[in-house]
């Protein structure tokens, strides 16, 4: 499958459990080629010796939560959005990696 083609994005959408219309798929293909161009432009910048920055601030934090049980759902609430459940369990098609 050609990278960043319509078929490629349709397949990705399918894996994430939603469908794309033909127009939506085409729009993404078009936008993606612009994005790739922009990334390539960024790649031309020489970053030798520049430390990677991960977080938008430099200072480390210090907060940690105390080991207290403060919020728990009932099984009923936990399962509320599950497409399928049984005996308190979430049910999926058999998945064995």
């Amino acid at each position: 499958m050609e990278k960043h083609s319509k078929a490629y994005f349709n397949n990705l959408a399918h894996q994430l459990r939603f469908d794309l219309t033909d127009k939506e798929a085409q729009d993404i293909v078009d936008e993606f080629s612009i994005l790739i161009d922009q990334m390539n432009l960024l790649n031309t910048i020489d970053t030798t010796g520049v430390e990677p920055m991960v977080y938008p601030f430099e200072e480390a934090t210090s907060f940690m939560r105390e080991d207290i049980v403060d919020h728990v759902l009932s099984a009923q609430e936990a399962l509320k959005n599950a497409p399928s459940s049984k005996n308190g369990f979430f049910i999926t098609k058999k998945v064995v990696l």
Partner: protein, 475 residues
């Protein structure tokens, strides 16, 4: 050709905390499915993880006991994979900056002492538990988010017994720290063992297999031994070992293929954006280091100074719950060795491991102590102690048991002498046998005397008296 076995071990250990690694939902084992979860564990949109301080404290304790170098700047990363046991689609772990690195433990094996280097210890969250039922998978998220540490050894072990000794020692250390309950059968301590063989004298590693699902310390040795035999047979037949994950089947007593490893999965690791780096204060780290509990090696040394022998020391130290029981018993005990004997013998067979661990028994330590001291003072005999002990187990007091069972120890010289003389008068043949060189005759006479006294004669004094009187009656 001779082959050398190379073994490295990864251990996943659940930390003993009240709440999850990143959420305030409870940690529990054996609860009804999906009753110990909240939105964070279920990976609902808009939720943010918040790090459990106690989990970090326990991870630090483990690092210290395993001689690991600590990175005080806590950073987490995402391990991305799409699978039903991870509702978020990623696991929060420490891929790039583990909290501990470059440590070791020293183990004792039949082949001599060995230092096993530990590559790293990192924190992460456990995944959900799945049950595969016919065409469905049933998912329970109670375990999801439970704090874990993963401890990765270097490939320093060369035999099944070394692998077993390593896990046993590591587990014992973690139990002493009280950072985990260490129950392999419940999965709170799980080990993955990597095994490969190479021709003796060569450096390059052979193709390895990984064994999972080992539910007890003793099965480690069995699993590794059978896997070594299997790989060796393949290599000797000119075949190749396939890189695969296998599990140990306790019934078949062999490893069974789970899945082949085809190349490595790309987990697309990147720094976890929802948890900014957390700087641990040196004061806090020092506090934890200074209040580290006594570890097995230190305890063994302490027992040595108490005068216990190697066997007793080993028996006690390898069982923390029993050893804790012994420690609680020995203040103001008159004979520590005798106390150790009782702990490793009668106590161990009368109380279950669970009872010891949960301190759930009716036996009162003060009463057991009183009995052991009485035994030491020869106020009661070993036989009488065995009669008293079952009552102690029921929570009764020593003094009232002695009263009730009418336990008397006759140590008074004139009373004993009378008993001795009567016994000898009634058994003239035994006197002849004794002087004829039959040692058994003395044992028989002691037995007769104890019977006559209804078990109340002081055995040590009676024995001595019997000998003296026998000598007087030498024909």
């Amino acid at each position: 050709m001779n082959y050398e076995t190379v073994i490295g071990i990864e251990i996943h250990c659940e930390l003993k905390t009240k709440s999850k690694m990143f959420s305030g939902a409870p940690v529990s084992y054996g609860a009804q499915p999906n009753t110990c979860v909240n939105e964070i564990d279920l990976g609902h949109p808009g939720t943010l993880p918040s790090l459990n301080k106690e989990a970090v404290r326990k991870a630090l304790q483990a690092c210290m006991a395993l001689n690991l170098k600590i990175d005080p700047l806590i950073r987490f990363d995402r391990k991305n994979y799409y699978y039903a046991d991870l509702p978020k689609g990623f696991q929060i772990t420490q891929q790039f900056h583990p909290i501990g690195s470059s440590g070791y433990i020293d183990i004792d094996t039949a082949e001599g002492p060995l230092r096993v280097r530990i590559n790293r210890l990192h924190m992460e969250e456990d995944t959900a538990k799945q049950y595969h039922v016919e065409e469905e998978s049933w998912i329970d998220f109670n375990r999801a988010g439970t704090p874990l540490v993963e401890i990765v050894s270097e490939a320093d072990m060369r035999s099944a017994s070394q692998a077993m000794a390593y896990v046993d020692k590591l587990r014992n250390i973690l139990m002493y720290l009280d950072v985990t309950d260490g129950k392999m059968e419940e999965g709170s301590l799980r080990c993955d063992i990597n095994i490969s063989l190479r021709p003796e004298g060569t450096e390059a590693f052979g193709t390895k297999t990984e064994i999972k699902n080992i539910n007890s310390i003793s099965n480690i040795e069995k699993a590794v031994s059978s896997e070594i035999i299997r790989q060796k047979a393949l290599l000797e037949a000119g075949k190749e070992v396939q890189q695969a994950t296998r599990r140990y089947d306790d019934v078949a007593k062999d490893t069974v293929m789970m899945r082949l490893k085809e190349g490595s999965v790309d987990y697309k690791y990147f720094p976890e954006p929802n948890i900014p780096p957390i700087q641990l204060s040196q004061v806090w780290i020092d506090e934890i280091r200074n209040s580290l509990p006594e570890l097995p090696e230190a305890r063994a040394l302490r027992y040595k100074t108490l005068g216990l022998n190697e066997y007793d020391i080993k028996q006690l130290v390898q069982n923390k719950a029993l050893s804790d029981f012994f420690d609680a018993l020995i203040p103001s005990i008159k004979n520590v060795k005798l106390a150790a004997n009782w702990c490793c013998g009668d106590i161990l067979s009368a109380l279950s491991q669970k009872q010891l661990e949960e301190k759930n028994y009716q036996l009162k330590l003060s009463e057991l102590r009183e009995m052991i001291n009485a035994l030491h003072d020869q106020a009661i005999s070993s036989k009488q102690a065995k009669d008293i002990f079952p009552h102690l187990l029921k929570g009764e007091n020593y003094a009232s048991i002695v009263d009730e069972l009418k336990i008397v120890m006759v140590s008074e010289h004139s009373s004993l002498l009378k008993l001795v003389e009567e016994t000898l008068d009634e058994n003239p043949q035994s006197i002849l046998d004794y002087h004829g060189g039959k040692d058994r005759a003395l044992g028989f006479l002691v037995g007769q005397l104890m019977k006559k006294s209804k078990g109340q004669a002081n055995p040590a004094i009676s024995n001595q008296l019997l000998k003296t009187e026998l000598d007087k009656r030498k024909p």
